[in-house]
Symmetry: C2
């Protein structure tokens, strides 16, 4: 079952190979591989030629056989420090889905933010011939690069690398903040407040900036006089809402920087007998199902699109085998999930 | 970095090997390995002899070198269908902790309850020379065995295998139900109700049985006339509490079958102006921090001890290399986590 370490010579079995397909289609092996793996860099015309050649030769894209030729094992390592799996599990799922259920395996290893453990897992994954690595940090701020001398391509997801030569894929948190406030404005809210988490997180600052930008475009002030930064917890959501209501009892919407904070916001609004969404609309951030779907009422929120991010990371890793992995920080657009906590005013 | 596939011959480097240590200590290589890995089956006297020999030879227990000799790679595969990672992440952490941070890597693969995907991951893990497999199902009920012809030992954790020849490690849910009700009784509660999740789950039935057993020993009836089975959700927790309070307004405690249900219970008790815990004590199940710690008030709950379960699974897998893996279903005792939702009546 072990792919040989070198397989450049012609194969002697009767089965047709990717090499045969490429030859018949008149393209390189790399292009044939990309075409059959549905990767985006291949022109539609080329893809059609390759698929026709594969059909003509009854070529079956068996993962291991493919590995024999392209040196790919179809396996990605996911090195995470996200203790609860809350951000890394959707990234893992997206990466697995990049090429279909029987094409890719993602091995998740938990480093818990511990450098020693991370090095140990890194060695373990590399010695298992993963095709590439996705690194997910504990929080969405820059983390140390694993360095430039690794034998496989590495993509930093969710938390960018601190080395601009690395490729990082992150959520567009400024865009997420804009999206949340835009939704509230479109549905008639004018006195919008923002309660968020730990201000040392770049994501907290970015979401606030997007929110303020969108309010500014509309000529609206931020209700409550300030962004209520604090902690990423329900308890802070409750405390901040109490203070906010004392400062500005006339707010008609609260944008919460996370679904946990939003749950605390809802709790205090209920205590204060303020109807949601009739009197005050509430929008969260994360679309963490367990908190958002079961909220009373169900919570409108911003989804970071982590599955799309994982899918994109895996596609890039596999195409990088031919050296096309870029560098810098790329953002993935979040999306709005509408539920009852912001339904329009009657 | 790749360990050779066979390394029975003598090594030619100057470094001392596990074989040298075993020879000097007068024990087998397997015993020396167990002693250095802190496994429980080694007598203290033997362990001391092995450690002394290792020190004398300046033997460094490098994982890969160790793999060369014992054929062990220090790597465990964790095949899970637990979509949120809620049960598998703590099991993964426990398994990694079994032998220290730089001794074991656990590779988690997500099968999502899909047999095709599970087979694919299984092949991927086996071809990467994992020493053993931990299989975690989607729910705590029996799941199909992976079969008896696998080249490495397999332990089923959280969800038992349907083949009694396999070894399964599961939570003692009957014991958990007893523990919850025992805690309430000890603190003076007499009118205890039970709201739980989907009755098709063995865990729901087991927790209810433990609760009823403990009530029976005390000669107490179950308040609310029945176990309120429904769904594993906050929404059901809310609905069931409303019905329960209509049926029996004098309850003084509610045992919820999960922390999610408990959150719904708390929500309705607040709506009904019933003070927690003064008038009604609430206890959950799972100790899922995100829900339990931030509840209002923080939630007393039963912890399934999944990290201990993972630790035990890894220890068994490594000792099974010498053929000592047992069979049948073993239970791990849960533990009580006390917080403010059940503090004693004044």
């Amino acid at each position: 079952m072990e792919p040989a370490s070198s397989a450049d010579g012609p194969r002697t079995t009767g089965r047709s190979t990717l090499r045969d397909v490429a030859k018949l289609a008149g393209v390189s092996i790399a292009t044939a591989s990309k075409a059959l793996n549905n990767q985006p860099q291949v022109r539609a015309e080329t893809r059609a030629k390759v698929i026709q050649a594969a059909e003509q030769l009854s070529f079956s894209p068996n993962t291991l056989a493919q590995g024999l030729i392209t040196q790919r094992s179809g396996t990605v390592g996911l090195l995470t420090s996200d203790l609860e799996g809350r951000f890394s599990i959707p990234i893992l799922m997206g990466a697995e889905d990049a090429f279909g259920s029987d094409q890719t395996s993602v091995f998740l290893c938990d480093a818990r933010g511990d450098t020693l453990r991370e090095r140990h897992h890194l060695r373990a994954l590399l010695s298992r011939r993963v095709d590439g690595l996705i690194v997910v940090g504990a929080r969405p701020d820059a983390r140390p690069s694993l360095g430039r001398d690794l034998p496989v391509p590495v993509i930093y997801a969710y938390s960018p690398s601190d080395d601009p030569a690395d490729l990082s894929l992150v959520t567009d948190n400024v865009g997420g903040g804009r999206l949340a406030v835009d939704h509230l404005i479109r549905h008639g809210r004018r006195r919008i407040a923002h309660i968020s988490g730990d201000p040392s997180y770049g994501a907290a600052q970015d979401r606030a900036r997007g929110a303020l930008d969108r309010l500014g475009e509309e000529g609206l002030p931020l209700a409550g006089d300030q962004v209520w930064f604090g902690a990423w917890s329900e308890a802070w959501g409750r405390g901040a809402t109490r203070m906010l209501l004392q400062r500005d009892p006339d707010i008609d919407a609260i944008f919460a920087g996370s679904d946990e904070i939003a749950r605390g916001v809802l709790d205090v609004l209920h205590q204060e007998k303020l109807a949601v969404p009739t009197q005050v609309a509430v929008i969260g951030f994360d679309n963490w199902n367990i908190l958002a779907v079961n909220a009373r009422p169900p919570l409108t929120t911003i989804d970071m699109n982590l599955e799309a991010l994982g899918r994109l990371a895996a596609q890039r890793l596999f195409s990088a085998i031919d050296g096309t992995l870029g560098s810098g920080v790329e953002t993935v657009a979040p999306r709005l999930i509408t539920r009852e906590s912001t339904a329009p005013l009657d």
